[in-house]
């Protein structure tokens, strides 16, 4: 078997391969459904209905997609530069915590000031957290994969400690949860009688900004050049260390925003289970989007639909909703293969 690089990718393949990859991941879900003894057809129907079948279902999917867009973007920016930030989960939690610190009554100002304030606080917290592994990488050559992964555990314990200590809401009757976000700092709902909130607008705006940055600015060019070939980029006079720091800050900030969005738009207060792994799912989102900032919107919607649909199917048929994680993980792997066949021609000899 040989791989030959394609000079150009036929349009049909560029579109068809990712679609086929997603279809394959859904088709493979037949196996676990069958193993669980669920009726295959009704299970899929329940999933589609639960995710897309009504105004409410669709709104739940959009709500779920909101943090996934932001963590997906965090991963896109980092991976484009081959900065392996696997720490979006921790950055998300630290962002949420910063939002609670400023947004639960420490300062009370009009929403015009408060909302930007919590967004900036959360983004800054995420960015600062990601700065640590980034500097360890650029200054000391410490592999960022392991440091970002390990920091996720440290941050979660830190959050737990704060929620059982200084940040515990005195009104929470002993539950480890923070004081609520004040109304002035709450991201307002954007669709009536649904849980969709302004975080979705922040997320879509972030996708547009990241897209413009990546495609139309010098920063974006430097990031792409560094990822494609760091030696060539260095030879061309780019300061790789500084570019990496910038990438780390942007990536961490985006993940931090995901935390703000969840805590100030949806949950209202911080708990230990704010995120069911949005940081890790962000990696799947980014890969499904083939690391394209606008593709993240579609990919996050798909992943959110799988999760929301599986939850609903699980309630109806009693099949564990872990099937959603299974489908998303499979989609991540099949998408890697799709990326391969769009870039290479496989020759069998």
């Amino acid at each position: 078997m040989r791989l030959e690089q394609r000079e150009r990718t036929p349009v049909a393949l560029a579109v068809g391969a990712p679609v086929a990859a997603v279809a394959l991941s859904l088709a493979l879900a037949v196996l676990p459904l069958w193993a669980a003894g669920a009726p295959i057809g009704p299970a899929f129907v329940a999933m589609v209905k639960g995710a897309l079948g009504s105004r409410f279902a669709l709104s739940e999917t959009l709500t779920r997609a909101t943090p996934l867009i932001l963590t997906g973007l965090a991963v896109v920016v980092a991976f484009r530069a081959r900065l392996w930030n696997i720490g979006a989960e921790g950055q998300l939690y630290l962002g949420a915590m910063a939002a609670v610190l400023v947004g639960s009554g420490a300062v009370v100002l009009s929403p015009v000031v408060m909302i930007p304030l919590v967004l900036v606080a959360g983004a800054a917290a995420g960015a600062l957290l990601m700065l640590v592994p980034t500097l360890l990488k650029t200054r000391l050559g410490v592999d960022e994969v392991v440091t970002t992964l390990l920091l996720n555990f440290v941050v979660l314990l830190f959050v737990q400690m704060m929620l059982e200590g200084p940040m515990q809401d005195p009104m929470s009757l002993g539950w480890p949860q923070s004081a609520p976000i004040i109304p002035e700092a709450t991201l307002p709902p954007v669709l009536e009688r649904t849980r969709v909130h302004a975080g979705l607008i922040v997320a879509i705006a972030a996708a547009l900004v990241v897209w413009i940055m990546m495609e139309r600015t010098v920063w974006g060019f430097e990031i792409r050049a560094t990822g494609a070939n760091p030696d060539a980029a260095r030879f061309a006079g780019m300061r790789i260390g500084w570019i990496m720091v910038r990438v780390g800050l942007i990536s961490g900030a985006l993940a931090g925003l995901a935390g703000v969005s969840e805590v100030a738009g949806l949950k209202g207060y911080l708990t230990r289970d704010l995120s069911p792994g949005f940081g890790y799912s962000g990696i799947a989102v980014a890969m499904l989007a083939q690391l394209h900032p606008l593709g993240v919107l579609a990919a996050a919607f798909f992943v959110a639909a799988v999760f929301v649909g599986a939850d609903s199917m699980s309630r109806a048929l009693g099949v564990s909703s872990y099937i959603a994680n299974l489908i998303v993980a499979t989609a991540l792997l099949t998408m890697l293969l799709a990326g391969l066949v769009t870039r290479y021609r496989i020759r069998w000899r």
Binding site: I86, G141, V146, L150, V154, Q160, E164, Y280, S320, A329
Partner: protein, 313 residues
């Protein structure tokens, strides 16, 4: 203060250190074999989870303990094969594939667990590995340190010797090291780089899975969600700490086990003064610290993370 230091002189403490180190020895050796062949395996966290589930489930469904360990290893081999196929002949990103394998293996384990036990909140226990020689447990020092340990701990120590021997004293080990350092030279020697790399990843993944199985078959005796709890990632740090050498991997895992056992005991002595979460953070922070200290002189296998394609440079 005396109490805090006295802990270090008790045999029970060192017995706990060895027990805590056992899954890390397996995981670190497994990752080390993969990386020595040039393949980073971030699937480790998920493969350990899958091993933990498989070992537990086999015994729960009536298999004997040895069969459970073998089945866990087999599941590791299968995930290793998947990782190997993606990263070696296809040359796909080792980082992304590994994360994908971790997500897949973890969610598959949780799903299977829920298929078997749709809604229990108290996970059923199994009859786990007993101490290898409980009747010798009374012997001072050696009793708790070795004879009270289970067969899996002995297997871990044996694995260190076997891996070190194979890696440094056999043609297979030489082939593994060569494909990780200089695959083109290996090819020139008539070594099939693809086969050796995939094989190394499969064997390494089997060890990881057995490390996971230790958790359910020798430590907690039941399967819990999130029970691997970052041990896989810690193993990856330990491989760097160990400079990719099996002997140092054992040393690193033991030091880590001692540290972890110590923080647990420290929690009991001074726990009322400091939030317990700070103690729980220490193992992760220690791993990061170890990476920072060792990274300067880390001698990575030269071809680590570089896919090899015949005839390409």
């Amino acid at each position: 203060m005396g109490d805090i230091l006295d802990i270090l002189t008790t045999a029970a403490f060192w017995a706990a250190a060895i027990r805590i180190a056992t899954p890390l020895i397996f995981g670190t050796l497994g990752e080390l074999i993969c990386e020595r062949a040039g393949v980073l395996n971030l699937g480790i966290e998920g493969i350990m989870t899958a091993g933990a589930l498989t070992g537990w489930l086999s015994v729960y469904l009536g298999a004997d303990l040895a069969t459970g360990v073998l089945l866990a290893a087999l599941v590791g081999v299968v995930f290793g094969l998947l990782h190997g196929l993606f990263t070696v002949p296809l040359g796909l990103s080792q980082h992304v594939t590994g994360i994908g394998i971790t997500l897949l293996a973890t969610s598959l384990s949780y799903f299977v667990y829920r298929v078997v036990l749709p809604d229990t909140s108290s996970p059923p226990r199994i009859d786990a590995f007993p101490p290898v020689a409980a009747e010798l447990g009374g012997i001072p020092v050696l009793g708790p340190l070795l004879f009270q340990q289970t067969a899996l701990t002995w297997l871990a120590l044996l694995a260190v010797i076997v891996v070190a021997y194979v890696l440094y004293r056999t043609p297979v080990g030489l082939a593994v090291r060569t494909v990780g350092e200089n695959p083109a030279a290996a090819e020139a020697q008539g070594i099939d780089v693809t086969v050796v790399r995939i094989g190394a990843v499969m064997v390494g993944s089997a060890l990881m899975a057995v490390g996971g199985a230790f958790l359910t078959m020798s430590a907690f005796n039941a399967f819990f969600f999130e029970m691997v709890n970052g041990r896989g990632w810690i193993c990856i740090a330990l491989v760097v700490f160990a400079s990719w050498q099996p002997g140092k991997a054992l040393l690193g895992a033991l030091l880590f086990g001692a540290f972890d056992a110590y923080q647990v005991r420290l929690q009991q002595t001074v726990g009322s003064l400091v939030p317990y979460q700070l103690f729980l953070m220490l193992p992760y922070l220690l791993s990061i610290l170890a990476l920072v200290v060792m990274s300067r002189r880390a001698a990575y296998p030269k071809a680590l993370m570089i896919p090899y394609r015949k005839g390409e440079r």
